[in-house]
Each structure stands twice: as structure tokens, then as C-alpha cells.
């Protein structure tokens, strides 16, 4: 949080253009000020509305069910309690869902970063036959709508005997064209002279990749890692098809099975929603700046 605050303050205090902006604002008429005030009010109002579903889920999860039905819109309770959490934790294997999601996302991140950074390095700093064919193939891969093609994918994984395993979720994610492009763009910024020097010192190409280039790619690594983690964690349709046993499901699939369930257990349902939101929201709050920058730079969806 302090970092983001500093980032937004920076232009107005340090850069000369920022100072100019402030000066011109002082000079500007009342109309501009009124406009900015109106913009601020509108935005704040909408931002607060945007937070309502979160807050409402949290409030509901802490109220007893009979109170929810008798006073549905009352935002406070005479009897705050955590019963719904313990109840949903015992009736659903949420702990398992967390473990599965965590293992799948972590392994996906690990493999994606290694595999795609190696490819990015080879595409930028090495001359090899077929390189431009591969580059074109990856570019074309950006346009493949993989979410649309789950059915043939399912048949393929059944033939491979991988249904129901973590591998079924990890393997299709790893070769991500977008991730290669992020590394490609970053590796291009590393000067050839640096690699030449390492070469003259007798370093192998793998060592140059591993010890020279990879450490310099830290921002690219963190962007790819964070965005891969979020997108694999949130996958829904593919794990729904592949992981059929309740205990082996991931958080999104497990939570999905609770929708439309017991209509009267509002508090329990909202408690499980809050539990489903919590891990990624925590990651987001911790790494807000990196995530936002990663999205802005790559446009990964």
C-alpha cells in the first residue's frame, strides 16, 4: 500500500510536468474544479457500490439464518457468530479443495516460468534453424481459443489416461504463448554484449540462460507467475470435466456445486463464498501493484 501511494504521488511532486499540471489547475476556472469534484463524487460512489457484494457476503456469513430471513436487508446483527464457517468447513471438503487448487496452481506457475523463459531466451539470443517458424507458431497460438475446445481435449486426456490427475490440469497450461511473449520482450532488453562476454568466459548456453538472463528477468517472472497463478486457480470448466471426485476438486469447482443447494442456509453459503474469495484476495492485496502492472503490460486474460 505505501508503495502505491508513493507511485501516485510521484508525478505531482517530482516530475516537472506534474508541477506544471498543478500550476495550471490553480489558474483554471471554477468550472474545472467543479468538474473534478463531480468526477470524484461519482467515482467514489461507484467504487463503494463495487465493494457491496464483498461486504454483503461477509456480513451475511456472520449472521444467523433466521435473522437473515426475517430482516433480509439489515446490515447489522444482534448475534454475530462464526457458526456458518465451522458448519460449511465440516460439511464440505474445503480443506482438500484448497490443497488441490494450491498444488495445481503452484506447479503450473513453476513449469510455465521455466518452460516459457527457456523458449523466450532461445528465441531472442540464439540462432537456430526453424526459429522463425516456431515464433510464427507461437504468434498463431495467441489466437487459439483453448476454452472453446475442451471436448476434444477431454477425449485426448482420456486416451492418455490422465483424467482425474493433477497433470490433466497442469499440462495444458504450461505452453502459454502469452508467457513466451512476455519473456521474449524482456529478454530482448538484455544487451548482446553481456551474453558475448559470458560466452567468452566459457559459459554454456544453459548457464547463460540460468545465471545471466533469468536473474535479469525478475519483473517478467513475477508478472507471468502471478497471472498464471490467478488464471489457473480460477479455471472452472476444464477442472469440472476432469476432476470428478469431490475430494479431488478445486476451489471454484467445489464452490460451484454449492450453488442452488440448500436455499435456507444463506449464512453457510456466504461463508463458503468468503472462504473461496479469501486466498486470491489476500494475494491481490499483497501484490496489488505487480498484478495491476502485469495486466497492463501484457493484457493477459
Amino acid at each position: 500500500m505505501p508503495a502505491t501511494a508513493a507511485a501516485t504521488d510521484a508525478p505531482s511532486t517530482t516530475s516537472p510536468s506534474g508541477r506544471g499540471r498543478r500550476r495550471s489547475e490553480d489558474r483554471s476556472d471554477a468550472g474545472t474544479k467543479a468538474f473534478n469534484r463531480l468526477a470524484a463524487t461519482c467515482l467514489t460512489l461507484f467504487a463503494l457500490i463495487w465493494l457491496v457484494p464483498f461486504v454483503w457476503a461477509l456480513i451475511t456469513s456472520l449472521r444467523p439464518n433466521n435473522e437473515i430471513t426475517s430482516h433480509p436487508t439489515r446490515p447489522w446483527s444482534n448475534n454475530w457468530n462464526l457458526d456458518a464457517y465451522s458448519s460449511t468447513w465440516t460439511t464440505n471438503p474445503i480443506g482438500w479443495w484448497y490443497v488441490n487448487s494450491f498444488i495445481i496452481s503452484t506447479l503450473s506457475v513453476l513449469f510455465t516460468v521455466v518452460v516459457c523463459s527457456m523458449a523466450g531466451f532461445a528465441l531472442v539470443h540464439l540462432k537456430w534453424r526453424g526459429k522463425y517458424v516456431i515464433l510464427g507458431l507461437i504468434l498463431g497460438g495467441l489466437m487459439l481459443p483453448m476454452e472453446a475446445i475442451v471436448l476434444p481435449q477431454f477425449m485426448q486426456f482420456r486416451a492418455l489416461g490422465l483424467l482425474g490427475t493433477y497433470w490433466a490440469l497442469i499440462l495444458p497450461v504450461v505452453a502459454a504463448p502469452v508467457a513466451v511473449f512476455v519473456f521474449h520482450a524482456f529478454m530482448r532488453g538484455i544487451p548482446d554484449a553481456l551474453i558475448e562476454a559470458a560466452r567468452l568466459d566459457g559459459a554454456s548456453w544453459f548457464r547463460i540462460y540460468y545465471q545471466v538472463c533469468l536473474p535479469l528477468c525478475r519483473p517478467a517472472i513475477s508478472a507471468v507467475a502471478i497471472l498464471t497463478f490467478i488464471s489457473t486457480w480460477n479455471q472452472f470448466l476444464w477442472p469440472l470435466l476432469v476432476l470428478t471426485q469431490t475430494k479431488s476438486q478445486t476451489i471454484p469447482v467445489g464452490l460451484g456445486s454449492l450453488i442452488g443447494g440448500s436455499a435456507i442456509q444463506y449464512a453457510e453459503t456466504m461463508a463458503s463464498a468468503v472462504l473461496g474469495i479469501l486466498p486470491l484476495l489476500a494475494v491481490f492485496l499483497l501484490l496489488q501493484r505487480q498484478i495491476v502492472q502485469g495486466v497492463a503490460n501484457t493484457g493477459i486474460k
Binding site: F54, E147, P152, A296
Partner: protein, 317 residues
């Protein structure tokens, strides 16, 4: 690796050194290049190209999803069936309708909000937090919360209609109510992504342009209209295509919140494929539907690329 010249004569010029290296290296570089990119290439061929090829093959057979094996070769009859099936076209239309409803909202509203947010010097982190946080929430958690808020009588959104003297539609029971529910949910959930793309692009615009405009007496509205929006055109184009593709691929919200209902009136293509492939077990038929839909998506992105390239090349020519 052994062929590398380790005798780096300090007197040799840099130019001759590079020339010697590039003349000698390719054998080693060729091997290293393929070795380092082989994990990627193998996984790419197996799991990105693989399913597409499997889809093409299966769509020509009467494969069932329950039994292993391909079944009998049936040629293009699956495609003929798909293209003449009213349910398939209905589901196609639902995906397109959802796209028509969400794309304008999700291209223009985040633009407006990002422009307004950029004018403010304080509290930007708060807007970013509020608007982007929903994007990291899994679809099923979003649907759990919204399903609760759409509940008749007890739901917050249902009650909110009453505060303005309106009657809430039956969100999950009628087709129009269902579309409203899904579009509102999608707006809340994915708004932040486009907001962030716009915000990043706005920060690239030099402050001096605005200063000059302000000195010339341009008001805030004029500045937005004649500076910010035109300079954001490339970003708008990018957001537009990303949104178009994302909306055409809608599945999670409609499946979780409505199961494609009421009475299949909102069922999108992906759910149609899911139903025919995994409930009726018609693997070959569902693969043919997949390939038709797949081609539509590829055509949309290719079309966008062609238009963009032509437009980019015009000023240069």
C-alpha cells in the same frame, strides 16, 4: 559447447570477434536453441495443436463420449447435422446476444471511469482496488454471492429495486430477468480488467498536451473529448477485441447461475457442446459443433488483426 573459442585475444577488434563467433557458432547454437525450446515445443504441439487435431478427426466419426475408440467414419454428416440443428443456432445466438449486451458496456464504461479517475490526484489506489478486486475472484464465488443477492424477497438486489419504487424482475425465472442478472454480474466481475488497461494507457499520455490545451482555454470536457479519447483509440481497439472474444466464450456465469435456463433460453454454445458431449455422449457431433464455433472465434480475431494492420499501414503509405 566445446567449439566455443576460449582464446579471446585482447588485441582483436570487437567486430572480428563477433564475426568469428557467428560464423562458427550455429552448430552449437542450433543445438542449444532446440534443446532450450524443446519442452515448450513438445507441450505446445501436444496440448495446444493436439486437441485441435483430435477435434477435427473426431468430428468426422460417430464417436461416443462413453466408450473409448473412434467409432465409424461418417464424413461430414456431423457438420451437416450441426448446421441444420435449431438448438445449436439458438445457443450460438445466445452467445452473440450476450456479446452484444456486454461488449458496449464493458468497452465504454471502464473508459469513462478510467478517464475520470485519471483526473484525480488522490485515492487512485482505492478505485483500482474496488474495481479490480472482483476480477481475481473465482466465477463460482461470484455466482454464489449474486445468486443470493438475486433471491426473491431476501436478496439485496431484489430489495434494492423496491427502494426506488420498482418491482424487481424474476431474475432466475424469466429470460429477460436472467439476462439482466448475468449481464450485471459480468459487469461487476470483469469491469476492473478493462479499467486497468485504460488507466495504464492514460498514464502514457504526456501531461504537456493537457497543459497546452488548458492554456488555450480548453475545459475538462473538451480536453477529454479532443485529447484523451482520440489518443486512446488503439487501447479501445485492443479492449474491444479482448472483450469480444471473452464474451463470445461465456460459460461459467450462465452455467452456474442459470444452468442455461429458464428452459434453455440463455444457454451459450459452450454449454450446448457440454450438454451434447457429456450428457448425450455424442462426442463426434459435439466435436463438429466445437470446430464450427472454434472457426468463428479464429475468424473474429483474424478479422480484427487484418483491419488493424490495414488501418496502421494507411498513414505510412
Amino acid at each position: 559447447m566445446t567449439s566455443t573459442p576460449t582464446v579471446a585475444a585482447p588485441t582483436a577488434g570487437a567486430a572480428t570477434q563477433t564475426r568469428r563467433r557467428s560464423a562458427k557458432a550455429p552448430a552449437g547454437q542450433n543445438r542449444a536453441g532446440w534443446l532450450l525450446s524443446s519442452p515448450f515445443i513438445i507441450l505446445y504441439v501436444l496440448f495446444l495443436i493436439g486437441p485441435v487435431l483430435v477435434g477435427v478427426v473426431i468430428s468426422l466419426f460417430n464417436t461416443t463420449t462413453v466408450a473409448p475408440g473412434l467409432g465409424d467414419f461418417v464424413g461430414f454428416s456431423n457438420y451437416k447435422d450441426v448446421l441444420s440443428n435449431a438448438d445449436f443456432w439458438a445457443s450460438m445466438w445466445h452467445s452473440v446476444l450476450f456479446t452484444l449486451m456486454t461488449t458496449p458496456l464493458l468497452v465504454l464504461l471502464p473508459l469513462l471511469f478510467a478517464i475520470l479517475a485519471a483526473r484525480l490526484t488522490r485515492g487512485r489506489w482505492f478505485f483500482r482496488l474496488a474495481f479490480f478486486a472482483p476480477y481475481v475472484v473465482p466465477s463460482s464465488a461470484v455466482c454464489l454471492i449474486f445468486a443470493f443477492m438475486y433471491t426473491p424477497q431476501t436478496g439485496l438486489i431484489t430489495n434494492a429495486f423496491g427502494w426506488f419504487g420498482l418491482t424487481a424482475p424474476d431474475f432466475l425465472g424469466t429470460t429477460s430477468g436472467a439476462w439482466f442478472a448475468v449481464v450485471l454480474l459480468t459487469l461487476w466481475w470483469t469491469f476492473g480488467f478493462n479499467f486497468i488497461l485504460y488507466t495504464a494507457a492514460i498514464q502514457e499520455i504526456s501531461e504537456e498536451v493537457y497543459e497546452a490545451a488548458a492554456i488555450d482555454g480548453a475545459g475538462p470536457w473538451q480536453q477529454i473529448r479532443s485529447i484523451t479519447v482520440p489518443l486512446l483509440a488503439p487501447t479501445m481497439s485492443l479492449v474491444f477485441i479482448l472483450q469480444l472474444l471473452a464474451s463470445l466464450k461465456v460459460f461459467d456465469q450462465i452455467f452456474l447461475l442459470l444452468q442455461g435456463g429458464p428452459n434453455y433460453s440463455t444457454r451459450p454454445v459452450i454449454e450446448y457442446i457440454y450438454d451434447t458431449g457429456f450428457t448425450s455422449y455424442r462426442g463426434g457431433y459435439a466435436s463438429a459443433a466445437t470446430m464450427v464455433y472454434f472457426l468463428l472465434l479464429v475468424a473474429v480475431s483474424t478479422g480484427w488483426l487484418l483491419v488493424r494492420n490495414r488501418r496502421n499501414s494507411v498513414p505510412n503509405a
